[in-house]
């Protein structure tokens, strides 16, 4: 096991996060991301075979909401938080696999 990620792996993550990295940053994250992954990997050492599955830290059962309508947003307000919109629609690059 190498102690850093490949340049390709870091650039792939950067692309998914939609951020640009300088060459220095790529080098820095190759090391830092690897350390992060190693830390997270420690979770595999925890013995959980005898534990009950924990869905939520609260012991209470779910409280259900009655089927009554509340306030909604105006489409124009929604579009203020949308990078690209078209009329009342949110616009994104075409999705494959549809």
């Amino acid at each position: 096991m190498s102690d850093m990620l490949t340049e390709k792996e870091v650039l792939h993550v950067a692309r998914l996060a939609r951020i640009n990295l300088t060459d220095e940053e790529v080098m820095k994250y190759r090391i830092q991301l690897k350390q992060l992954l190693d830390d997270v990997d420690k979770i595999k050492d925890v013995k959980i075979d005898d534990d009950e599955q924990l869905i939520t830290p609260i012991d209470e059962k779910a409280v259900l909401r009655s089927d009554e309508a509340g306030e909604m947003l105006e489409p124009e307000d929604i579009m203020k938080n949308v990078p690209v919109s078209n009329g009342n629609f949110v616009e994104v690059p075409v999705m494959i696999n549809e």
Partner: protein, 472 residues
């Protein structure tokens, strides 16, 4: 190639008929302005949390009970993680480990043969947003995001397109009648995915998945076409790709959308924002009480009262007519006559006016009165048709309308006999025809009598008396 056996499994998504969405209190509605039924939860804004709609649990439980499923008394939700713009949270909340119902069945009938189709599970999940694609862009409408769905997954128990269509039709009928969903395939509130493979042996072939088929008859067409395609490949010695298809109605063919990658990893894990949901006996009993008489039971009952299969089916297709007729099952009235006038003149009136039968002035008492009068011959179909508008639009009783109109049905045999004798005397040619074996001549004589009485004679009685007179 009849030696190939088709094996078919079906997944159906059905939108539940709630007022609000599953995890937010924005409106669950179809056909509104884009992005107008949306709040911060539906858009996955940071810091928002889901709140589970009680009506979703009730409707999904009702569905699971109707499908004869075992109920998961302590269930939770799971996150299905994938990165796609139709899900701003980055995951869909669904049920993976503890679906609300498992191991159920639906009974179908094809050409008189009954068969049980096993239900693997029924689970609850949220719908994604709707996307419209144009050139290099996709346009998103989040009105559908968070609409409650149940997905019903069968075992691969079907072996013909007829069985598959019968299953989809049966499920639709069940959910419509139980008021779980409006099941409009064309509007997407019911969506069918079909898995199909062919094989000459007991070992199953590689399956193809046909997504989102747009109508029940297309389910049948798509299966036939896909089976043909697979058999042709196998006959050429080629392999079937594990892939997703869609059915193209215009070209009547299945078209590949994508090859399935093995082991799609959705990293399912329990949804920590929603604690366990407990389904106790009280809730189950409560929901059971909301299950109305289902279509198959209605059909059986109607036919036991002498209504034809055709008419029984016609009534069942119209839930409000069927509910109306059900009110009279124990009333002792002639249900064949009741169903005939409901399907005939009354339906004609309802279609013409766009009214629902419950919003007319036709009270239960009035309906019983009408059916009784028709069965005793006090009212004939001609007069009924004439006074129909008044019956349905006024608070007046049948008696009042009839007497106001001066309508009198002649039920007196002596009075009728006089008229019959007169008609016979004036139409000796037809009488001869009848007596020489042309039985159709009696229809002409009947017509003359009805004309003579201006339609007010009791037709059954006239028919009986006329036959007696002619056969003397």
């Amino acid at each position: 190639m009849t030696d190939y056996k088709k094996t078919i499994g079906i997944e159906i998504h059905v939108e539940l008929k709630t007022k609000t969405k599953i995890f937010s209190d924005s409106i669950n509605g179809y056909g509104r302005t884009a992005n107008s039924n949306v709040n911060v939860v539906d858009l996955g804004y940071p810091g928002t949390l889901p709140t589970l709609n009680v009506e979703v649990i009730r409707l999904a439980l009702k569905a699971a009970l109707i499908l004869n499923c075992d109920i998961n008394r302590e269930m939770h939700f799971d996150r299905k993680n994938y990165f796609y713009p139709d899900l701003p949270k980055g995951y869909q909340i669904t049920q993976f480990e503890t679906p609300i119902g498992t191991d159920g069945y639906v009974e179908i009938e094809v050409n008189g043969d009954k068969k049980k189709i096993r239900i693997h599970d029924i689970h609850i999940e949220e719908d994604t947003c709707k996307s419209i694609h144009y050139k290099n862009h996709s346009f998103l409408d989040f009105n559908r995001a968070g609409v409650p769905l149940v997905e019903i997954v069968t075992e691969a128990d079907m072996h013909s397109s007829e069985e598959a269509m019968a299953y989809v039709e049966k499920l639709r009928e069940l959910f419509l009648y139980a008021d779980i969903s409006d099941c409009k395939i064309e509007e997407g509130s019911m969506r069918c995915d079909v898995n199909i493979s062919v094989s000459k042996t007991e070992e199953l072939g590689t399956r193809a998945e046909i997504k989102n088929i747009g109508s029940i008859s297309n389910v049948g067409r798509a299966i036939e076409k896909e089976a043909e395609r697979q058999i042709a490949l196998l006959e050429k010695g080629e392999e079937i790709a594990f892939a997703t298809y869609r059915y193209d109605e215009k070209n009547d063919a299945t078209i590949m959308m994508r090859v399935k990658e093995a082991g799609n990893d959705y990293r399912y894990f329990p949804e920590p924002d929603i604690p366990f949901v407990l389904i106790d006996d009280t809730l189950i009993d409560d929901v059971k009480k909301t299950i109305p008489m289902l279509a198959s039971e209605r059909r059986e009952k109607y036919m036991a009262f002498g209504i034809s299969l055709l008419n029984a089916n016609k009534i069942i297709q119209n839930r409000s007519l069927s509910n109306y007729l059900n009110k009279f099952l124990d009333s002792g009235i002639d249900l064949v006559i009741a169903s005939n006038i409901l399907l005939g003149d009354i339906s004609f009136y309802l279609n013409k006016t766009g009214l629902d039968i419950e919003s007319t002035k036709l009270t239960d008492e009035k309906f019983i009165d009408i059916v009784k009068r028709i069965s005793s011959g006090e009212l004939n179909s001609k007069v009924f048709k004439e006074i129909l508008d008044e019956l349905l639009e006024e608070d007046t009783s049948v008696e009042e309308i009839i007497s106001r109109r001066g309508i009198k049905i002649i039920n007196d045999p002596t009075e009728l006999k006089t008229i019959i004798e007169k008609v016979i005397a004036n139409n000796s040619a037809s009488v001869n025809d009848y007596q020489n074996g042309n039985t159709r001549a009696i229809k002409f004589l009947m017509g003359q009598i009805m004309k003579e009485t201006k339609g007010s004679a009791n037709p059954e009685l006239v028919n009986k008396l006329l036959e007696e007179e002619l056969n003397k």
